[in-house]
Amino acid sequence: MQHLIILPILLPLFTGLAMLIKRDATMQPRRTISLVSTALLVVIAIALVIKSSEGQISYYALGDWQPPFGIILVLDRLSALMVCLTSVLALGSLAYACAGDDKKGSNFHGLFQLQLMGINGAFLTGDMFNLFVFFEVLLIASYSLLMHGGGKDRTQAGFHYVALNLAGSAMFLIALGVLYGTTGTLNMADMGLRIAELDPERQGLLKAGAFLLLVVFGLKSAILPLYFWLPRAYASAPAPVAALFAIMTKVGIYAILRVYTLVFGDSAGDLANFAQPWLWWFALATIALGGIGVLSARDLRTQVAYLILISVGTLLAGVSMDRVASLSALLYYMLHTTLVSGGLFLLADAIADQRGKAGARIVPGRGVTQPALLGLAYFVGAVSVVGLPPLSGAIGKALLLNAAQPGEQPWLWSLLLLSSLAGLVAMGRSGSTVFWKAGKPDAEGPRLKPSMLAGLILLLGASPLLSLFAGPITEFTQASAAQLLDPGAYTQAILAPTAGGGS
């Protein structure tokens, strides 16, 4: 199947377009189409993972214009893994949304699919400018999704989010302009080659562009000085959207990982690996701040948003250590944290729904209607996200701690473990307030609908599965990390004229 690589972009695009037909029709057909299409996306993503696990990097040249001139989509282990993660997360949040959240505003399903298209495109593209275009596609869809359902709080958080991201896009374009102006190409593999043989006089300009690009990706992935939009936007977004947004910060981290290993990797001469030492300190500060934020949160959703911030810091610390062991650990941790924090957003919404007036605030109030079921889900989610054994969070964090070298250990170990402790205290406190200090539940209150439960189980249940199959998964992430740290093979596969895979 030579066209397999482009399917994760085309399928959501056509599904999203199909949602525009008969917009005032009943919800049911659109739900079915959306669910079937997303389930199909999971199947395609698994096929991509299997294809990429052979170790070959293959590309798809659109319109058969060969690189470095044409636009290409590239499939390697990392991008296949990310597409797979996105599709599973999307299926879970979509199943939850089909229980009624999609009816609160118009066009939920269409926007959801277009957002998936943008995310998948960003993971698959091998071209800098197309990275920008797909970022815009996913952002534009996310602007409207964030405000789905309306309300004062959402419009204001939405305006902040839109204004910040517009400024971010402007900076992205400036950085692209500088990179194009100095290297004369937009193909990532080709750019990596050109940088190695760049005129030293132009290196300062290039470095400015590269730093600007780092700021843009930092804004998307919410590292320390650029995180301010995240807690508020995530806490006010509707639950299924917030769950899908759990992947959005990871798009930024993926972009950092891709660009600063491939373009500014080992072969980039004076600029080789210049970003990683900078990232290290920002990542540590992000972890510390996330820990404080988790303790100070007074609302379950804000708490999860700060837990995402901790995970962003943890992932970036892995990026900046820049070794096979650390990258492999971070990819495993990324799978875990994305799915579990997505599941926790859904769970917070389900709890808020059943508590009536108390909502998601961490105060004693009415008990939930189904304390056993939600309590169990909360327990699994909390154990997993905080990183207690035997669930996947512990494995991910242990792998990452293990990857640190003696010089890095005092910083990473102390901060990561302290932030886990903060998470543990905060999750324990809010759990006992919500479930144990609760008054009588309303027996007639809303209950979990089957599709909500399916979404919750899919996302939170991923954690035990991830730790059960930790062996094969870490083998795959290890191979991905090795592939990522070998930009020569990537360049060879894309640019050598004899390379196969082009179609």
């Binding site: 602007y143 309300g151 204004a163 374009l173 102006g181």
Partner: protein
């Protein structure tokens, strides 16, 4: 020509940045628009400034302009235009929902504090 071009781009970017940091939604939207104009001009110049250059290969021509930045800037203009329209509507919605055009409306913040 280069100096004039650079000055204009820089001035646009500076004005855009100043306006984007203002406290009301309308100047912010105008500022972001100016910023995107500056970015478009900047992108346009990344292939080098040429006059009378052909963008498509023609027989007997030796003087060419780089066509790629023109294609990039076209994409950027389309996206920027759509986003400006969106942010104007959004700013109006914020004004309607909150009864004020402050980007950080203190009243909303206070109401939220009381609630939690």
């Amino acid at each position: 020509m280069e100096a004039l071009f650079a000055t204009v781009t820089g001035f646009l970017a500076a004005s855009g940045l100043y306006l984007a940091l203002r406290g009301r939604t309308f100047p912010v939207v105008v500022g972001l628009t100016l910023l995107s104009y500056a970015v478009n001009l900047f992108l346009f110049s990344t292939g080098g400034l040429t006059t009378d250059g052909a963008a498509v290969i023609q027989a007997g021509k030796t003087h060419y302009a780089d066509p790629l930045p023109q294609a990039l800037v076209l994409t950027a203009i389309v996206i920027g235009f759509a986003m400006t329209a969106f942010s104007v509507i959004l700013a109006m919605r914020v004004r309607g929902d909150q009864g004020s055009d402050q980007v950080n409306d203190q009243r909303v913040e206070d109401a939220k504090e009381e609630k939690s």
